[in-house]
């Protein structure tokens, strides 16, 4: 008769909290754990790509395939760590870091012209041509003082995004 939350001890919760830099409260972690168990339908301890895609709102997202590469097969601790960037308490640095990781698909620590173009392709699909995308990107890069050949680092991202604030918050429902 035990509910899922009773399986997390105080120690577990504290461990997870530490892992996500205290960006979530204990109650939020309990809520997230219930959600994690709900999505992990086969109780394997991780959420598979297929299980993520069973949430229609997620499957419809233009970036879902890209995000799947980041979240596929995460255990609960890493799942919470991934979501912690969306906490209202997360700093601009942390939020920018997550955005940077989405762009940096080959994880080499720098984002090339091609990387940005690929994200742009996910976002605009067939509604922009390759030439249009390249034109847009070249133009805005130039105006910001970069060129097609320059690589953007995490610091560049923090500088560009951090200056005006990114609104990226999701509330964890607590019942």
């Amino acid at each position: 008769m035990g509910s899922a939350s009773s399986m997390l001890t105080q120690y577990d919760i504290e461990e997870v909290q530490e892992h996500c830099n205290d960006l979530f409260s204990q109650q939020e972690i309990v809520s997230l754990y219930q959600r994690f168990c709900q999505l992990d339908r086969n109780a394997k301890g991780f959420i598979s790509a297929d299980e993520f895609l069973s949430v229609p709102e997620f499957a419809m997202n233009p970036l879902s395939q890209r995000l799947l590469k980041m979240v596929d097969g995460l255990n609960f601790k890493d799942f919470v760590a991934f979501l912690s960037a969306f906490s209202a308490r997360a700093s601009m640095q942390q939020k920018s870091e997550l955005i940077f990781k989405v762009y940096d698909s080959d994880c080499n620590g720098k984002v090339s012209f091609k990387d940005i173009l690929e994200v742009l392709r996910d976002l605009s699909g067939s509604f922009m041509s390759d030439e249009q995308r390249e034109k847009v990107l070249t133009q805005v890069l130039q105006e910001a003082g970069y060129t097609r050949e320059s690589y953007l680092t995490l610091d560049d991202f923090v500088k560009v995004l951090g200056s005006y604030g990114v609104k990226m918050e999701v509330e964890v429902p607590i019942d």
Binding site: P56, G125, A144, K167
Partner: protein, 376 residues
């Protein structure tokens, strides 16, 4: 759009299992406010709205909520209550359950011993046979309800038999059908089930005019459409019952109604069903348990408590589309039964959303990018 002609022809048909999700979703739900001004690098790099949406869906989504079983609150943790609970278990499993099995067995014996002769011997007297079979089906459904001590309260006038009307109800479990059937022998439209339920469907329930189909087969849809139209026009047919959600929902939410029932050109009589979860959760989570297990769960609980409201018949208003009509009826049912409405197609349980939804988001993104590029 490249295929307006194709769209028109399919919407004029009775599209039983593919409602247009777009018609229900508020337009531009994803764009909070249209950004203006010259396009800068930061605007391009800032993918936070899309990421926020994705993370929001991972953390909580209204679709999964619709199909979440809600077990009754455990109350036996207390040392004093625990023996009481144990006593309850003994009573439920060792006294109530065998008694209920007995009741159900007797019911089946009575039912079969009269149904078989009626069905085969009264071949020449169609009217009499139909009436008797109708009564017998109502009888066996009453036995089923008794086998879980169904405490059902019916509100409003009982359904009458007349042509050009169709009943629609919210759907929680196959027992909805049994509960409604014990009052009135409805002809129902349902998914074809495997196993013993399927056997009942194709033998006994066929006699009250029920229509079966397979969700996955497109050919079935056309046949069902035709059968539906023929059925509602027949004067002598049992009233038609449709569960327009097309799938079982946990009785806290209503998902989108398929528009099929609302395109028949007859009056729609809404039926609202609300279960009281005090003893058992009546939601049948067909992915988690078989119908037999679901019935066993009901038969080992204290009782199934529910309210049924027969609501005022509704007609399509001039200028109202079938989808708007379906929404209006869903509104009436949701309000009466105290359910929340969500803009989801219940069939997404079985399939992924079509790429159309993603394309719409991509389109609005691309348009905004291109427009802002022009702005200087």
């Amino acid at each position: 759009m490249s295929s307006p002609g194709k769209l028109n022809s399919s919407s004029s048909e009775l599209d039983l299992d593919r409602p247009n999700l777009e018609d229900y979703l508020p337009s531009g739900a994803s764009i909070q406010q249209e950004p203006h001004g010259k396009l800068r690098l930061r605007d391009l790099l800032d993918i936070s709205p899309t990421l926020t949406e994705a993370a929001g869906a991972i953390i909580d989504d209204s679709f999964t909520r619709c199909f979440k079983s809600n077990p009754p609150e455990p109350w036996n943790w207390n040392v004093y209550l625990f023996p009481l609970w144990c006593f309850g278990v003994v009573v439920r499993y060792f006294i109530l359950f065998p008694a209920r099995v007995l009741v159900l067995t007797i019911g089946w014996i009575i039912f079969l011993s009269s149904f078989i002769p009626v069905h085969f011997l009264l071949k020449g007297h169609d009217k009499l046979r139909k009436n008797l079979e109708r009564c017998l089906v109502e009888l066996i459904c009453s036995f089923f309800v008794a086998s879980w001590t169904g405490v059902v309260k019916y509100h409003g006038p009982r359904p009458s038999m007349r042509p050009k009307q169709v009943f629609v109800a919210n759907h929680t479990s196959m027992i909805d059908f049994i509960i409604l059937e014990q009052m009135t022998a409805f002809a129902v439209i349902m998914q074809k089930h495997p196993g013993w339920v399927g056997l009942l469907q194709s033998t006994i329930l066929e006699s009250v005019g029920c229509i079966w189909f397979n969700r996955s087969e497109a050919k079935d849809r056309e046949i069902v459409t035709k059968k539906l139209r023929d059925h509602v026009l027949g004067v002598d047919n049992n009233p038609l019952l449709i569960f327009p959600e097309g799938t079982c929902v946990n009785n806290h939410y209503t998902v989108m109604f398929k528009k099929g029932a609302f395109e028949l050109g007859c009056s729609v009589c809404p039926v609202a069903i609300k279960y009281n979860k005090i003893f058992v959760d009546a939601f049948w989570n067909s992915k988690k348990q078989s119908f037999t297990m679901h019935l066993l769960q009901l038969m080992t609980s204290w009782a199934v408590v529910c309210d049924v409201w027969y609501l005022e018949p509704q007609n399509i208003r001039p200028g109202e589309s079938p989808i708007e009509f379906a929404e209006r009826v869903r509104d009436i049912i949701s309000t009466r039964a105290g359910l929340k409405k969500v803009p989801w197609d219940g069939y997404l349980k079985y399939s992924r959303p079509s790429p159309k939804h993603r394309e719409r988001k991509q389109q609005s993104f691309a348009e905004s990018m291109l427009r802002r590029l022009e702005e200087k």
